[in-house]
Amino acid sequence: MTFALIFEQLLNGVQLGVMLFLLAAGLTLVLGIMNMVNLAHGSLYMVGAYFAITVGQWSGSYLLGVLAGILGTLLVGMAVEVVALRTLYQRDHLDQVLATFGLILFFNELVAILFGRFALFASLPSYLQGHIELFAGIRYPVYRAVVIAVGLLTAILLWYVVTRTRLGMLVRAGASNRTMVGALGINIRLLYTLVFGVGAALAGLAGLMAGQIYTVQPGMGELILIQVFVVIVIGGIGSIRGALVGALIVGIVDTMGRAFLKPLLGMLLSPVAADTAGPALASMLIYLLMALILALRPAGLFPARG
């Protein structure tokens, strides 16, 4: 276990963290502002990945694929919101959960019909390949570094919009008093559609970036969705700051745990015990962490509501 290895895994943890953040930000906003549980958020992540790969391959331009991924998911998200989700705002959480669950089945199967069930692969443009030199001779993949940068940039942008702009203020006001904001002449329905759309676009961004690191196949959204929920529970519902902190915690703990828990256990216990307990414990780590945080702070670390 060298320092270089530890640092690399730490960066991988941050990279997973920013991707979880992109997914969590949209979901926590929808949850906090529209009080809606959207299980189909993972499907938007998947849609982003598929848009990016198909348009990228068809046009031959990686950047065009990226654009398609973001815009395409934005449009799909808004369309789904208008067509299917609007009626759910008034319903109780159980209805929302079941309805969006039905949407997951629909989207997964639709993608399977259009593109098949097997994983898709696409290549990276040359400027995103290779490694960069960090300090002390540590090398890190260019692509992952870019992902981290994009994620952090988006976080800053999001924070700025939500806290410093009029639009952000409207969004937060709409959360606390929907009818009042509506009475002020603001089109609250349009606002909600917009919020949902932005959340979808962020999910799409996460999806298209994920396409190069994880597999692109039907059901990919559900694999990561639960971790996103853990992030939101830890961070606190409705809080972007909580989403970022939670996401980084989950990303780092999960990645480092999977990488180092087995060797660590191997030093304390027998190699055989470490072999079984290691991976098992590592996969449970973030859930145990969630349980611990909930025991101390039942509303998460930075709950948006009082």
């Binding site: 209805d95 669950f101 639960i226 529970v233 098992a280 590592a282 039942p298």
Partner: protein
């Protein structure tokens, strides 16, 4: 149709099914209906905490998994005593439910949903990561659970055992929800503030219901692994919990017939759709139809099938 008439007809139909289908040369229905009844037990247990208790628990598939793995692991080591296996299945699921419930039930609303989801997934990952018991690929049941006087490898005997257990679980839950315990559960679901104001502290009652439901789920899991002879962590995936939830909702929440009707409806529909030949794509991609159907049923058909079939007070 009155409630007693409904149950009489259902019980008679299920009792008569094996001899009738065998006579008609359609014996495979025994296997299908047996599988449906096993999931009906799971749905009945979920109905206790969801339909009557109002706890939106996405973790129910986990208990089927725990129960199933308990049996499979015993068999793996050559222990085939059914009482020991199934007793452990029920006990282990109850313990897991106790642990998960103790943490989750302190929360409410959205938090509760997400936490139960997360814990289910944790168990799923646990199942995958233990290589000895098959990990990702799952574990094969070497021999069906052994009981004195009963031979589970005989499809008919197994069928009637499952039928008996299903009816027993419906009956037990029926008594539970009308007892003082059940009334507290239903009251806190109906109006929590009012319940607290008259002096009910919901936590212990909910936790108890959660454990009971988990134990029943474990029994269903023990039956399931005997049914399919092969268990994968997939059975614990949270999407499986969603399926069981749909059975409860589709059938009618908070009714005794609901979970049974719901599981028959959903699983028969799945079976029909997945075997569709013309056009072919329906058979291969039936979820693209089922998905929207489920969405629509939630939006427009909340009272469920039980509301159509029976009058209940």
């Amino acid at each position: 149709m009155g409630r007693k008439v409904f149950w009489a007809i259902l019980i008679l139909a299920l009792l008569a099914l094996p001899p009738v289908t065998l006579a008609l040369g359609q014996g495979f229905y025994i296997d299908l209906v047996r599988r449906i009844m096993i999931f009906a037990i799971a749905a009945v247990s979920l109905n206790l905490i969801l339909g009557y208790g109002g706890l939106v628990s996405f973790g129910h598939a986990a208990y089927l998994g725990v129960g199933g793995y308990a049996v499979a692991i015993f068999a793996f080591y050559g222990v085939n005593n059914g009482f020991l296996q199934w007793g452990t299945a029920i006990g282990a699921s109850a313990l897991v439910a106790l642990a998960i419930g103790a943490v989750s039930i302190r929360t409410s609303g959205v938090y509760f949903i997400m936490i139960t989801l997360a814990f289910t997934q944790m168990l799923y990952y646990l199942g995958i990561s233990i290589e000895e018991y098959g990990g990702d690929d799952g574990i094969r049941l070497k021999m069906r659970s052994q009981f004195p006087l009963l031979d589970l490898s005989d499809g008919l005997q197994f069928y009637y055992l499952v039928l008996g257990l299903m009816l027993l679980s419906v009956f037990v839950v029926h008594r539970l929800v009308n007892s003082r315990f059940g009334m507290v559960l239903r009251a806190t679901r109906s109006n929590e503030a009012r319940s607290r104001a008259i002096g009910f502290s919901p936590y212990m009652y909910r936790l108890t219901a959660f454990v009971i439901a988990g134990a029943m789920g474990g029994l269903a899991g023990a039956l399931l692994v005997n049914q399919v002879n092969f268990l994968t962590p997939d059975y614990m995936h949270w999407t499986r919990s969603g399926e069981i939830m749909f059975m409860v909702i589709l059938g009618g929440m908070g009714t005794s017939a609901g979970p049974v009707l719901g599981s028959f409806a959903l699983l028969l529909l799945e079976d029909i759709l997945s075997n569709w030949r013309d056009p072919r794509w329906i058979g291969e991609h039936w979820q693209v139809i089922l998905g929207p159907l489920l969405v629509l049923s939630v939006l427009f058909f909340k009272r469920g099938l039980a509301g159509l079939f029976t009058r209940h007070e």
